[in-house]
Symmetry: C2
Subunit: 342 residues, 2 copies
């Protein structure tokens, strides 16, 4: 049985192997994604983002547990976790994180956790995440938690493209961290004040509430609408039913406190998505964004094949000598291509 | 006098206007960059990165002051600051930051500070930063401090492309934050333990020292070499003289403590860069990276002109219906282009 068939049959070892192929962007990994794609589209993608120190990882682990034993007595969900670890552009980080998590949820065949260190290039991270999510979705994981540190553009962009985005806060973090939340508030479907047993939780919640009022003067639907118009080029008007008030919840993830309520709010958001047409809108946004990333990569690599390294380096030399501006260098290189073609 | 000439003549208002044009990526802003590019290449670019809560902004402000009154009795340097504020994918953040900074360094014509909120798209941040730096360099700022939060891939990539990269740490931050430093340590030319009057400074310094030994087994030159080989495709061997041991310094930026030593180490690193050929190597890396970003954008926008929105959306529809995989969608779209061409 080949790797793809094994993954579809639920073989964990095959899944781990395939994810490595996918992360390394091998030809085998790419072919597998083509075959698996038809099996995707069933998972609920949940982005979890927040500044360092907010306890995101514990919260993600607890959420995974809750989905394994739903408090409403429903069927246990199969849970995939993709944790994006910005700690290392080169190495490290991710491996340790995995080990700590494994201890928590070890031996549960309904949970699969994959940490991923950041990539060396801009955009590589988002593409790799999309591929991981594709594979886990096809492998039958019904809930996929995508954990990112909400302090980087790339990481926020990744979380934003989930169906449901949780933004995690905590009391008692420095001013620097407080400043970060102003921006990521706008992408939040659900706000979580974790470590809510710490002093200052009322202040954190109050300031979140007032920032929320500032950040969402016209509410959620409008914002998404604006994002689509600007970034994606859709211009339909958001229907009235697409109004969602982001709730603020308190949790103490290390003790499991507040997780049932969080589970409930996520379920409510999913119903909202389904009822308002937002689910389809977000699917389109996400897939179009993936397509654009792949297109970009394909265009660059096709172009690279048409230009010799010597011609390219000659242009870089002229750039370094300030003989041509970066934009003229681009024009020169694209003309080289056109000339070599014709 | 046009905007470019005014900027070259040192007009601050013209500079502020031009930077806005550049940030908004207007045609006027692009033309100005072409004209200004020949005047660049003189500034010392210093990346300053660190996790939230380490006091980067205070440190950058203090550094600006030190360059205005060099402790070695040298000429005051003109200092530009580009602060990349990840707090907001949409709005906010940056403006408040500017106001706080302005109070500190207000009225000094030798300092120019520009904060920039993150962009809505992957890669946009790096491109916008490069453009800002180009303009400030041409405008005669001799030292340009580029401040980023070292917790995101994009932000780390930006800091990495400076001539000299400072990584800021502080005692007493959470485990989550400690984990981040493992990765950014590898891009550090100089390590700064800020807030060094806090308890735990010895621990922070000790752990930095041991992580440094792990992270740099073959030292700095080797790492850069590896980065070049992998990302940029250069394969020259680093000369022996390109060995730099990243020093660890203590500062209390809010009180100005340790700033003279930091100034000294940055000067020493600059001498090392000049003497070892690293300056030229990093210039090439940086300009090549800028060129590649612009090429990518140009290739995508040229391609977009060749494909109708209707044809594009039809492919997206098939993607959403799971009729074709993302990779097949790309192939289909690129074939559409080839067909429309021939």
């Amino acid at each position: 049985m080949d790797l793809v068939a094994s993954v579809l049959a639920g073989n964990r070892l095959a899944l781990a192997r395939l994810l490595t192929q996918v992360e390394n962007d091998t030809p085998e990994g790419r072919l597998a994604q083509d075959e698996l794609y038809a099996h995707t589209g069933r998972a609920h993608l949940i982005g979890v983002t927040g500044a360092p120190g907010t306890g995101k990882s514990s919260l993600v682990n607890q959420l995974a547990r809750v989905y394994r034993q739903p408090p409403d007595g429903g069927e246990p969900k199969r849970v995939g976790v993709v944790a994006i670890d910005p700690s290392s552009p080169f190495t490290g980080g991710a491996i340790l994180g995995d080990r700590v998590r494994m201890r928590d949820l070890a031996g549960d065949p309904g949970v699969f956790i994959r940490s991923m260190a950041s990539r060396g290039s801009l955009g590589g991270l988002a593409a790799a995440t999309a591929s991981m999510v594709l594979v886990l979705d096809a492998a039958g994981f019904e809930v996929i938690l995508i954990e990112t540190v909400g302090a980087g553009q790339a990481e926020v962009d990744i979380a934003r493209l989930a169906h449901t985005t949780l933004v995690i806060e905590a009391p008692g973090l420095g001013d620097d961290i407080q400043a970060i939340k102003a921006g990521i508030l706008e992408i939040a479907d659900i706000l979580v004040v974790n470590k809510a047993d710490r002093p200052g939780v009322e202040n954190t919640e109050r300031s979140l509430r007032s920032m929320l009022q500032l950040a969402h003067p016209a509410r959620r639907g409008n914002l998404h609408h604006r994002f689509e118009e600007e970034v994606v080029g859709l211009a339909e008007t958001a229907p009235e039913s697409s109004i969602w008030q982001p709730p603020i919840l308190r949790t103490v993830a290390t003790e499991g406190a507040g997780m049932v309520e969080l589970y409930g709010e996520i379920a409510r958001h999913r119903q909202f998505l389904a009822g308002s047409g937002e689910w389809e809108r977000r699917e389109r946004l996400r897939l179009q964004s993936e397509l654009d990333m792949l297109l970009q990569t394909a265009l660059v690599s096709r172009w690279r094949e048409t230009v010799s390294q010597v011609a390219y380096q000659a242009v870089v030399d002229r750039l370094i000598e300030r003989n041509i501006s970066p934009r003229h260098a681009v024009e020169t290189l694209l003309d080289v291509k056109d000339k070599e073609r014709s």
